[in-house]
């Protein structure tokens, strides 16, 4: 009998496992096979990017190693390009470039979008809101590629012209989404309670409202990462992208002249790497949405 009492006592003493929405989402994500596989593919790419960034692999990407236009050999896995540079090393090193662009653009654009979106959402209907909506509409009016071209010309010598252009073009979508969510949230009781307790406005916005949109921000960040990588490829192809480095876009630009002559190595290596990364990230983003948004269909 005392055992039973002890048992009962211990079961009440052990605190019940905390179950927040985040842990629920995490559990759901762990169980999602596609999500986990795609996450590990993205992780592999990230590892490659970090190793290349640390200078451990693929440092010979711009050395002239062998004859031009060699097919795949044991030494040069994907062959060499027209200058005799190793395509495999170039494709690997480009991973670093892609992550550099993707991460900086995604993080900065999401943060900007979050700040603007939450502020305009809280002050919806006032002149602050109107001002930012006007700014967003104006930026939306100018086609994206023309905007980037303008940035590239205006910041002629800056190697980060493309990054800056993307950051200033990509935050509007996030800002609109966050604004809508904040407008919904600010009419709820907890905001009312915080306000009536005398919490200052900036703390209401950034401590009570913005954290409640973090599921949107997380998904938006993954989507922006994909968009940034894909745009980088197209911009590099147009000659507006990365300079003094190598990227999949530059490799495709090189290859676009070669494929009609029958040299496919450069094209397949760069587009294959790009495709696998973007596909994995898309599927990861999907699983993340499934896990975070119970309403998603």
């Amino acid at each position: 009998m005392s055992d039973a009492i002890m048992e009962q006592g211990s079961s009440t003493v052990v605190p019940a496992k905390r179950e927040s929405l985040w842990t629920k989402a995490f559990q759901k994500f762990i169980r999602d096979k596609v999500g986990m596989i795609s996450l590990s593919v993205v992780g592999l790419y990230l590892l490659i990017a970090i190793l290349a960034w640390l200078g451990l692999i693929a440092q010979g990407w711009d050395e002239l190693l062998a004859d031009g236009q060699m097919g795949p050999t044991a030494e040069y896995w994907f062959g060499t390009n027209i200058n005799g540079q190793d395509i495999f090393q170039r494709a690997i090193y480009s991973t670093k470039t892609a992550f550099e662009v993707g991460l900086t653009v995604a993080v900065v654009a999401t943060i900007t979008g979050a700040l603007v979106g939450s502020t305009t959402g809280y002050f919806s209907g006032t002149w602050i809101d109107e001002l930012f909506l006007w700014l967003m509409n104006c930026l939306d009016c100018i086609p994206y590629y023309l905007m980037v071209a303008a940035f590239a010309v205006a910041l002629a010598d800056n190697p980060y012209a493309m990054h800056i252009a993307m950051m200033s073009c990509f935050w509007m979508g996030t800002a609109r989404l966050v604004r809508g969510e904040v407008i919904k949230l600010k009419n709820m009781e907890f905001t009312e309670a915080a306000r009536s307790l005398g919490v200052p406005v900036y703390r209401v916005i950034f401590k009570h409202l913005l954290p409640n949109t973090s599921h949107i921000l997380l998904v938006e960040m993954t989507l922006l990462f994909i968009t940034a990588i894909k745009s980088e490829v197209i911009l590099s192809f147009l000659g507006l992208g990365v300079k003094d480095s190598i990227s999949w876009g530059l490799m495709i630009a090189e290859a676009s002249g070669e494929v009609t002559a029958g040299y496919f190595c450069n094209f397949f290596a760069s587009s294959g790497m790009l495709f696998v990364l973007v596909l994995a990230f898309n599927m990861f983003s999907d699983s993340l949405q499934d896990a975070l948004d119970p309403r998603k269909i």
Binding site: W134, C141, I142, A150
Partner: protein, 306 residues
């Protein structure tokens, strides 16, 4: 009302970006070994020695008077350049745009009808795969398949000499295939999400309970009610289809459209052309916003009652 601040903002942004910090044309207009006086003379002609606001007011005056003048690089009248290039861009993009959206809606309806069966999963996973392939790769691959001796070699790689319908089809096929391919993934996903959300509504359940056939429910109750987001997406993508979106296709297939003209104008600092294009896109955006309002009333009569 809405359009005046918008035009003001767009001209301000475009002025700061494309003119104030844009390419310096001083040395393009000078001969070899210019003297200081010559340089100053040219800079004065171009207005580079004026303060910011004077130059901006000058710019806005030209924009408001539709005084675009002559292109700096070709000497052609800007309006005639636009009159030549815009129809080309529209002709290039329109078939792909329509097909991409129609096929997207049909696939989305089909997927939503067979929701969570293997058909739905197949369509959705192929659309994710389609979304993941870069536009550039699609263009190069379709060109390899259809235009080169490694593939079918049926269509031209480059150029635009359209005099008849068969010419048109001859030059349009491959660009259209690539643009449909790229658009289809995104469109199908978006439209399926919209349609599936509508199928979970109560009125659809009621219609089902009344014993309406599946196709009646799908077209009359689901599609009709999900038209608002569909119309918004289609209409808002029109300006970009006409001006911005065609840049890659045009540069790769050597088609003299407005996207390529705009790109060249920015990179070479062809100010008159640039101004015309900025005004054009802004006007188109304003037009689209009003068009959406009208279409909303057509699609959903409840809106005009409010």
């Amino acid at each position: 009302m809405y359009s005046i601040p918008l035009l003001f903002g767009v001209t301000l942004i475009s002025f700061v970006l494309m003119v104030y910090f844009g390419p310096d044309k001083t040395y393009d207009l000078l001969g070899r070994n210019p003297t200081i006086e010559e340089i100053n003379e040219i800079r004065h002609q171009l207005g580079y020695d004026q303060p910011f606001f004077v130059r901006y007011l000058e710019y806005i005056k030209e924009v408001l008077l539709f005084d675009f003048g002559y292109s700096d690089s070709t000497g052609e009248k800007v309006t005639s350049i636009l009159a030549k290039t815009i129809p080309v861009s529209i002709a290039l993009q329109l078939p792909g745009f329509i097909l991409g959206n129609v096929l997207g809606i049909l696939l989305a309806l089909f997927a939503a009808m067979h929701r969570s069966t293997w058909l739905d999963k197949l369509i959705m996973s192929s659309s994710v795969v389609g979304m993941s392939i870069s536009y550039l790769i699609v263009i190069i691959t379709t060109q390899l398949i259809f235009c080169s001796s490694y593939g079918l070699n049926l269509f031209p790689v480059y150029g635009w000499e359209v005099n008849s319908l068969s010419d048109y089809l001859y030059y349009i096929t491959v660009p259209t295939i690539s643009s449909v391919f790229v658009a289809l993934g995104y469109n199908t996903r978006f439209y399926r999400a919209v349609i599936v959300e509508e199928t979970t509504r109560d009125h659809v359940r009621t219609a089902k309970a009344f014993g309406h056939s599946a196709s009646t429910i799908l077209f009359k109750h689901v599609l009709r009610n999900s038209l608002i987001p569909i119309v918004t997406r289609i209409v808002f993508s029109i300006p970009f289809v006409i001006v911005g979106g065609a840049l890659l296709l045009e540069s790769y297939f050597g088609i003299p459209g407005v996207g390529l003209t705009a790109y060249d104008a920015i990179t070479t600092g062809d100010l008159p052309v640039l101004k015309a294009i900025i005004v054009l896109t802004t006007l188109m955006f304003i037009l689209v916003v009003s068009l959406v309002d009208i279409l909303y009333r057509v699609v959903d009569p409840r809106i005009s009652l409010k």
